[in-house]
Symmetry: C3
Subunit: 140 residues, 3 copies
């Protein structure tokens, strides 16, 4: 693993700004296109893997009706970035999810630890795999 | 619209760090000076526009007493930045507002979508227009 | 005080991503090593100073059992950075602390204003002093 350059670090910040904006706008079609065609999302805390854009899209579209009555926002911080020998980027960060409902009342959904592998295809960065672990304490 | 360089991206991050610090410190006189003299703030969700530093300052000073009993903090994320042909920067981001009251009890105010146009005057960036939309769900 | 370069700004963002990840992982041994040997943490709001890594570690290890039942996360924003004449960096920012307990229920701990002095030792940045003030309103 190698350190990333300043340009790469900012490029990756930009990628997340773009991807999270699509996710928070509930534009699921554009969101899944920020993954590679065979990209994987692994929700570790519920033992669920979604393999490929089509599976992610089907899952997201099924979930959308639940999100008609809330605005979801992801607040990420503390991006750790490294470059693997194959040129991919390994990125991990924390993500705090808030929900704003009717009359602008905001509440917490939960917080997560996220680990991604990003690859470059042509001009753009895409997520090849994402692993999400919902925060839970060492003792219940 | 063109992409912004790494230097410009970081410069704009710095601008927001500075501007939000003034806002959160309730230093309204310094805050309005981070706008152009004719800068506009448009609170879309309540159909209110404040035109020019003087109008913003009058509005902010009127609101200050309400904020004597809370610490307000803005937590921004996912800055999307583009450069327009006239050299101005078009920046959008999410903003989560928290209030901390007596005895350090923190609560949500609300979350917002913000769109700014920034221009350079001499050495500094200034906001020419800001548009804020308070988050509310598609269905009530 | 001088402005920091783009490279320095991003370097310092990286430092905090690393340090906060250690803190949030409750890896207190690694966390105290992100301070200089004689580093100081000053909790202004409770009039407490911890002088040196050993004192910090003893304090942190004593506090750890309280954190077995929650995941703590720090969400920082609005980093203001300047370079002092002696080459150290003076950095201030806001920090929002959340706690996620059993069943993934997230709540606020509190919000803080933090001021750090960072110095370079060999290849790495280290905190020489940290001052934390818990937010409390002008009027109770």
């Amino acid at each position: 693993m190698a350190a990333v350059s300043t340009d790469q670090y900012v490029d990756i910040l930009r990628f997340y700004a773009h991807q999270m904006s699509l996710l928070d706008a509930q534009d699921v079609k554009a969101y899944v296109k920020t993954f590679t065609e065979d990209g994987v999302t692994h929700h570790v805390h519920r033992g669920q893997s979604l393999d490929g854009r089509a599976a992610m899209l089907a899952h997201a579209e099924q979930a959308l009706p639940r999100y008609r009555t809330v605005v979801v926002r992801h607040w990420n911080d503390h991006y750790l970035m490294e470059r693997a020998e194959d040129g991919s980027f390994v990125v991990s960060y924390g993500s705090l999810v808030t929900l704003t409902g009717a009359e602008g009342v905001t509440r917490f959904e939960s917080s997560y630890a996220v680990s991604d592998v990003l690859v470059r295809e042509g001009d753009e960065l895409l997520v090849k795999s994402r692993s999400l672990v919902r925060d839970e304490p060492a003792e219940g």
